[in-house]
């Protein structure tokens, strides 16, 4: 996706629709999804599932850490978290009491591409739930006290991350792959950046991105279309449309081979190897996804797992993946192995990358990958909460309401030659970033 613009254009185009108009429906998997676009530009995807008396709402806001001010990483995350820490009319404690009293919950957080706010409430408490949800999304107070509290919490988490080799490796890997691109910094920011972020930064970020026309919300559960329209109009109706202009994002820099070892007294070496990958909107996405499934994404069916774990017993887990977002996220291989065998694990991962770039995968491998990916697709939609999260993603990334129908077709159409092409195009066994946390024998590294 060429950043956010197509979505915004679409928002503008449908602005005049009053109430709800369902332009598309996905019938596959028995998911009669309705898309409702409100006057103020807010998009709601509704799936009525009346079998259990509760409702889930999952809102995604185009205002993730990708849009953090350059010198203030962590702004998007703090903004999102602070939503539930007090509004114009409710303190943080009032919010917690009101929700806990009926066993409902609202949580908010930020990811690279979006901020999200989720509500879970019993059917009988749906009015209250949406009232509070709208309150936290529309009227956050960003009180100085709450900001200070939350910053201290984040700082404690950043500190305890230093005890987690996977977090150390992930952070260093991202910073080396993305350099001055915003995907380089951790969503929660750094000790240094948090020190700079003040109330005015959060208020400004909020003001810029938290607009109804910048929100997609999936609603799933025991609620009708009529009820949804009424609730959204009543609770979010006064939230005015306002143009949102996200900043231009730098392009992802090229990678040259970089090896970093973080020496730490650990039993295992935690390894990350990779480079920039693809966007979610890339036409290569599905073919690259199938290719990666065979290489290292497919759990016990993957080549990397077969080699490193099943044949050699070197690791409990090895996996590879494309982190495809609004921007080209990383392709990465992750593995942990005892320090002594770290160089072997790296070498095997590189050999597998080379192999899939050299020779076409077998008919059987491709057929197995496809039958798994297509057959297991419904398993990803087996709870209302999962459906809500996926629905809002589908809309957020502009995948279209026919996503659920077209997914099997797209997977099925991938050929062996395309797999080879994807491997050659999107995997780079020479110019990669390699990060190792632990005490590996660095002299034996490839």
């Amino acid at each position: 996706m060429s950043r956010q613009s197509p979505r915004l254009v679409r928002f503008l185009a449908v602005l005049i629709l009053i109430g709800a108009v369902p332009p598309g429906r996905a019938e596959a998997l028995d998911l009669p999804i309705k898309k409702l676009v409100f006057e103020n530009g807010m998009t709601v995807l509704l799936l009525e599932r009346p079998s259990l008396p509760f409702v889930v709402a999952n809102a995604k806001i185009l205002g993730g850490s990708l849009y953090d001010p350059e010198d203030r990483p962590g702004t998007a995350s703090l903004t999102a978290t602070l939503l539930t820490h007090g509004t114009a009319s409710r303190s943080a404690i009032d919010l917690a009491e009101a929700l806990d009293s009926v066993g409902a919950s609202i949580s908010s957080s930020s990811a690279d591409d979006f901020a999200s706010v989720s509500l879970t409430a019993l059917k009988k408490d749906v009015q209250l739930g949406f009232e509070i949800l709208a309150d936290v999304m529309m009227n956050p107070s960003f009180s100085e006290n709450e900001i200070a509290r939350e910053k201290a919490q984040v700082l404690a988490r950043i500190k305890s991350d230093l005890d987690d080799p996977a977090r150390i490796a992930d952070k260093l890997f991202a910073s080396l792959v993305f350099k001055n691109h915003p995907y380089a910094h951790p969503v929660e920011g750094t000790e240094e950046s948090l020190g700079k972020i003040g109330r005015e930064d959060l208020a400004a970020f909020y003001k810029r991105y938290y607009k109804p026309n910048n929100v997609v919300m999936a609603v799933v559960g025991d609620i009708t279309e009529e009820e949804t329209i009424e609730i959204v109009n009543a609770r979010f109706g006064r939230w005015p449309f306002r143009n949102v202009e996200p900043p231009a994002i730098r392009s992802v820099p090229k990678t040259s081979r970089t090896v970093k070892v973080v020496s730490k007294d650990l039993k295992q070496a935690t390894i990350r190897l990779g480079h920039p990958g693809i966007r979610r909107s890339s036409p290569d996405y599905y073919a690259a996804y199938v290719m990666n499934h065979i290489l290292g994404g497919g759990g016990f069916s993957s080549r990397m797992m077969a080699r490193v774990r099943d044949e050699k017993g070197l690791a409990y887990d090895i996996r590879s993946g494309f982190d495809a977002g609004l921007e080209p996220g990383a392709f990465s291989v992750s593995v942990q192995t005892k320090n002594e065998t770290a160089p072997d694990a790296v070498e095997m991962a590189l050999e597998e990358i080379n192999r899939i770039r050299k020779t076409v995968v077998s008919e059987a491998e491709l057929a197995d990958a496809k039958s798994y990916l297509i057959g297991s697709f419904p398993l990803r939609l087996d709870t209302n909460r999962k459906i809500a999260a996926i629905l809002s993603s589908v809309e957020f990334y502009g995948l279209g309401l026919d996503y659920f129908e077209s997914y099997p077709r797209r997977i099925d159409s991938v050929s062996r030659e395309e797999v080879l092409k994807m491997a050659r195009k999107h995997l780079n066994p020479k110019n990669y970033v390699l990060v190792i946390v632990g005490k590996p024998d660095a002299s034996r590294l490839p």
Binding site: L52, L99, G103, D163, R257, K264, K338, S376
Partner: protein
Amino acid sequence: MRRPARWIPRGGGVWFSLVLALTPVPAEAGPKVVQDLLDNGLKVVAVQDGKSPVSTIQVWYKVGSRHEPPGKTGLSHLLEHMMFKGTAQVGKGEYSKTVARHGGTENAFTNRDATVYFQKFAPDRLDLALSLEADRMTNLLLDPAEFELERKVVMEERRMRIEDDPTSLVVEEMFAAAYKVHPYRHPVIGWMEDLSALSREDLIRHYKRWYVPNNAIVVVAGPTDPAEAIAKVKAAFGKIPKGDIPVETAVNEPPPLGERRVKVKKEAQLPFVFAGYPVPRVGHPDEYALDLLAQVLAAGKSSRLYRNLVYEKQIAAYAAASYDQMTSQEPALFYLYAGVKPGVRTEDVEKALYREVELLAVQPVPEKEIEKAKNQIEAAFILGQDSIFNQARQIGQAELVGVGVRYIENYVANIRKVTGADVQRMAKEYFSEDRRTVGILVPVAPKTKAEPGEGRPGE
């Protein structure tokens, strides 16, 4: 577990692994549940939930780390790994490949009481799923070379999950101290020394002894009609002969004589406190009041521990309580734990934790707070039905610990009966200083300095 969940959060991962308390299913609006006991002793529970597009089967073997003799810890979990390594009919790796080829997912987990294998798949693949499970109940190869490889894999798993995660080490040490006699003291994954010493013969003995139909529960859940599901289970497992299961001798854990403290000295950023109190397990009349007590202490941001330690005093990064009553034997443990904030003294956080239970013993919980806790539990029940897998897990668990499906059906009603006075009685009876075991993570300075090491420029 044989395979990690995707990107397990591990920073102070304890609270993720402990908070998996039970959220059973309410009776009304609930799915249709039919049970059967086959001639060979296999217990079958079929759950019909028409709305589910997915089926799940779970095979619960009543064998976990508590069944392992001293010096052989980790046996059940290593055997769990070997269950994916081939039978006479289904070659090495073929089990997983077959399931995947049919669009299913599979995995397994081991705990102190049980080893559980599960699959999720499209409802029309039930026969296949069952035949694969029946096959490996009796026909496991336990190939010597595969055994050696898998021992290495489990050692890596232990390094990753426990040895390089300071908070997990504290949990392990606390358990080993809280139970001085009962085998609940064993770590499920096994001590590293024991893992090195286990032999293939140990595994064969363990497999033959415990992997028999009369030591297993099969739960089938999904849209399939229960009678049909049970008939299919019978067809797959019916011919497997009953085994001789050793008679269970109860191990009575002696009462604690005073507070026990264990320290873990490890390179770490922040201290961690993890206290356990022996309490009755599921089925005891105090169970429901203990559940409510945990709820009052730790459910949601308005709960006492969060509100006081994290929010008001800001001395803890997180603070929680958890009652893990679904055990097969007495006693269960009730946990209190907290992550210490930078610059705060560990003993202050510890005292603040204890103060909350002490307060509950002196001052009755206001009616409104009790009501809130009950509402939270009830809501969590209903939400718990969202997942067919979760429903099957609750039923399997209830069967395993011997309280059965009825327990789940009556759970909310029993919770509703608890009074503030009951909760106060719990606080008085079970939470004295002398009854607790405390694990403390004491951070020590790094041996090697953590800094970005020798970067090598590109070629």
